[in-house]
Structures are given as C-alpha cells and as structure tokens.
Amino acid sequence: MRIRPIERRDIDGLQSLAWQTGVGFTSLPDNRDFLAAKIEHAVSAFEERSAIDDRLYFFVLEDDATGELAGCCAIEAQVGREVPFYNYRLGTLAHSSVQLDLHRTIDTLFLSSDHTGDAEVCSLYLRPEYRRDRNGALLSKARWLFIAEFRDRFPDKVLAEMRGRFDENGTSAFWHCLGSHFFPMDFNEADRLTGLGQKSFIGELMPKFPIYTPFLSEEARACIGAVHEHTRPALEMLKKEGLRWEGYIDIFDGGPTVEAYIDDVRAVRDSARYPVKLDDAAPQGERPTWLVATSGMRDFRAAWIGRGPGADGMLTLTSDEARRLGVGEGDTLRLLET
C-alpha cells in the first residue's frame, strides 16, 4: 500500500470511490465532471503550476499489488481564498452591572472567516475492505510528512473540520434549532451544495448578528463542538498530533474545527530525514510503526516500512519497499515513528 498524488488516469477509480462514499461525504460527489475538475486542480497543484494559495493536494492510497484505489485524502493549501470560508466562533461576552451586583458571561456564536488563508486537511476516505493494517493512519499521517517536506508551501496554521453530532434518525439538533430557520432546504441539501463548493448562499442567508447560545435548545447547545460518533477516531488521531478545538464550529452541524500551528504538529515537528540503503535481509517489524515519505512533489510517495533507522543513521529498505516508494540507495526519506 502506498500514498501517491492523484493522476488523470485515476478518474475511474476516483468515481468508484465517490460512488462508495455515499451520502454524507460531500466533498466527493458521484459526478464525473466534478471529479475530473478536482483531479485537474490537484494535478496543477502537484506540478506547481497554480498559485501557492490555490492548491489542492489530493492523494490516493493505492494497493500496489493490484493497482486499485483503496482510499484518498487531501490538503487544501489555503482555505477561503476563492470562496469565503465561514465558521461560527464560540466567544464569551461579559454581562455585568455593579448596580445589580451581577456578573455573568454569556457564550455567543460569532460568524467568522478567521481561518481564511489556513491550510486544511480533508477528504479522507478509506474503503471498508482496506480498514486494516493501519491504512487509515497512513492516509491521515502521510499528509503531515508532505507538509513537513514542503513546509514553505504552507501557511502558519492547519485545520480540520469534523462532522458534528447527529441523533439516531440522522438529524442534527444544531441544524434543527438554528440553520433550519435561515436556510430554505434540508441539512443534506445544504451540505451537498457546500461540498460542491457552491457556498455563496451561506453568506447570503446566514444570520449575521451573533447568536447568544442560551437561546438555543439544550440539544443544540450539546452539539457545539461535539463530533459524530464515526468521526471520533479521526478526531483522536488529530488530537494526538496536537490539533485542538479553539471554539470554531461548523455553520450547519456545530461540529468542531480543530487546528494547530503547523510547526507544532507532532508529526511535522518529530519527523526527520534519513539516507537510504538497501538490504533485502532487513528485519521486518510486526506492526506498522515507521512511516516514510519521499522528498519529491510530483512523485511523492508514502508508505509503512518494517524498521526504524539504524545506529549508523541510515534507513534500510528492502527492494520491495524501495520499489513501492520509487527510491534507491543514497536517496533521502522523511521518517516518522508512530
């Protein structure tokens, strides 16, 4: 299994992934034109033809045994540059009066585009049949190695948007209590339009004055910053990297946006580069622990390998591993022990 940049020839594979993701994974609609445009966007990013603030680095997880696409993930270099990026930000307002001997703070949601210009990790999907052997972690963490390797292409901060809480009927109490009053559509339709990048209706219709949270129902308040149960593992993985919830939530479902300074992300901070040597007799660990990535952009590859660096400061690869990564003796790899 290996991570590589998406290519034009992946269109069929991507569409089959998109078909499989189903409803609720709105950034990958089953729409061939849309997907082809996405691939073009990514290709021009990896070829560094597009402006540095308008790049979508879209990766696929390839089963190098069969050539099949097992999953995908992406990094948006800077959000909010082409279309506005909206969040609510949970802030605190003091309401106090000396005369009344009253001092309370009220939680308040402020419309914000504070994240404009930050990077975003997004679009992670892994086929169910590949949910083993830490393939999910490979998809998630390979992005940090890419960012670390090409640090100058990214801004100070990175964020990830987490799906919010829904009840057993698939209803979001947050949407029900807030968004439904302002948007003349159901949640899925709003979500779908956003996934397609057609976001102008958000700025046009959403409430522009702050929302005092005491006016929301208890259920809706409980959604603020809460994640969907299926999203909890992904959130945990990001938290371990040092991403935190700083009070920003999704407009529609109240799910948290987690964020970090890129230089503080553990995988970025702790990964390091090692020269490669080849030896087919190298010992193989039982569990994927060492993640490596190559140093090229168009031919970026990332994969698990069976061992860490030797006492000589070199990384030993088997010829299989080297082939998977497209590297040879003397090349340099970025390594992360996880």
Binding site: H95, S96, S97, Q99, L100, L102, R104, I106, C177, L178, H181, F182, P184, M185, Q198, S200, F201, E204, L205, M206, P207, F209, P210, I211, Y212, P214, F215, L216
Partner: protein, 354 residues
Amino acid sequence: MLVVRPVQPRDLPALERLAGSATPRLTNLPAHRDRLEERIARSTRALAREVDFPGDEAYTFVLEDLDLDEVVGTASIRAQAGAQDAYYTYRQETLIHASQQLNVRREVQTLSLSHETSETTLLCALSLDARYKGTSAESLLRRARLMFIAQYPERFASLLAVAFPGYLDAQGESPFWNSVGRHFFARGFQEINLLAGVRSKSFIAEVMPQFPLYLPLLTPQARAAIGREHPDHEGALEEMLAEGFVRSRHVDIFDAGPVVRGERDRLQSVRQASWHPVRLRPGHVLPDAEPALIANQQLGGFRCLVARYALSPTGQLMLSPEHAALLGVEEGRAVLAAPLALPAVMDEVDEGDA
C-alpha cells in the same frame, strides 16, 4: 362625585394601596414607600416649576371619590420618557436575507434594543381601584392626562407614548422574560420587575444583550407574547387606540407588552376639545346631553371630571354649582371640554414608524 387632581403628600397611603393592588404589578409604580414619596415630591416640584420645554418632570394625578372621601386611582405623565435615564424598548425589525444563488428571499424578524422612545411623553403608572373598572371613572382617570397635556404644549413632547403591561400566564410568569431576560439575569420576572421599579430600568437594559435577537430562536410562547397586552388591559388598550394612538414596532424589554404612540394633535381628546365659558344652572334643570371630560385651566389646581356636555345656544357650558365648585370656576370662566365617547377603533401599525 369623582374628580382627577394632582397628587398631594397626604395621598401617600392611598398611593401605596393602589401600587400594591395593580394587576399586574407595574414596573413604574412600585409599592415602595420611599419611591412613592419621591413621586409625590417630584410631581409637586414639576407643577411649581416654570417649564419651557419637556424635561425630567413627572406629573402624578389621583382620582378621588368625594362621596367616599377616598382616593381610588392614580396615573402619571413623564414629560420626557428618557429624560433621566434612557427609556429602552425592543424594536421589532425585519431583515431581508436574499440569495441570488438559490433565488430565494427570506424575511427574518429580530428585536433590537432601542431608546427611540426616550424623547416621547409617556403616560404611565395607572392603577384604579377594582370597583371602578369598566365605568366612566376609568376613562376619566386615563384621559384626564390628555386634558392636562392639551393645555400645556410647552411642557410635553408632540409625540405621546403609552406602554401597556405585557402578557403574563396564569402563574404570573412572563413567557417573554423566561425566554429572553432570564438568560441574562437568572432572576424571575416579578423579581426583576420589582427591582427595576425600585431602582432603575435603564441600568438593567444595559446588561441586556446588545446584538439583535432573532425571533425564530425564541420559544413559541415568547413569540406569541410580543406586542400582546396583559388580559386586564385589553379595554384600556382599545380605548387608547380609539383615542388615536397607534401600535408601534416597540415593545417592553421585560414582558414585550405593546408600546402605542400618538401625535398629540391627532388625538381625539385633543382634537375634539373646546373652550367654553361656564354658565351655572341648577343640576336638576340641566338638559340631557352626552357625557364629556371637563377640565379647568389651573396648572397646580388642575381638576378634571365627567359631566354632561350641555351647551347653551351661544356655546356656554351649563354646569351645576357643585361641578363648578369642584372645578374651582365661577360663571364666565372658560373650561376645556371633550366628548367622553370615542370613534370606533382603528387598530393599525404606525406607518411613520415602518
């Protein structure tokens, strides 16, 4: 015989009783002895003062039943609602959210904190003994203030306002307060109402949320209470609408009771009021005529009562000696008279305020 006159220091016990029996309890008439004493002193000062334009004067009147020798009602005028502190209300507004992308246009209702009503003259703090409810005594007490205002335009704003007590449920709870104010004060309506009356309402307003409130986020009960008067004040509201007051976009910040506004010169009692010289006639020979509000022309010695609107062919008002004595007028002195009856109600929102 019933007469409205300025309050006197000796009326304090009656005022306390009336404040305590008002339903619902009025923010601006707290049953608090010190505040009521101040109220009397303030009224006395206002009447004694030379006034060229409205300021922080507050005039308080009482309704006296001379047969019982008892004060059975009170009502006040604040020359300028926000002269001391800003007079805050919520203003109902409509925002338009239009989406070209979706080709839809939505209207979103909000409430914004406002003190636009500060400049108006406010009729307030009316409480009437329950025995007199529904009688002409109620109209007399309420509208005697207009007969006073009509005579002293320099003392009042040209725009008048009345804030009616808002809707409370059977438990005396305000659904509006429970959905709005309580979040910010964690106190019940009755408690905050009392506190506001004894201290000041404006510093409470300053702790209220500063940003507009979106109506869809309030409880249905709270939304239903916006601009809705307390059941006990339905008749009063109707009379003021018949007077020529119109509903405004403003409601009370505590209970969302309606604020009605009227241009002084367009009110019935003012437009229909005429001066007539008095002619004394024994009561039993007075002709049958429609009832009218009759007021004398004395600032500190203001008196207003209900009598028959019996005119001589030359326009003299024929009054019994008893009524004339009550008004403190002799034959030949002019009094101001306006018919007690009002035209049918026109209940509409003030468009100038749209």
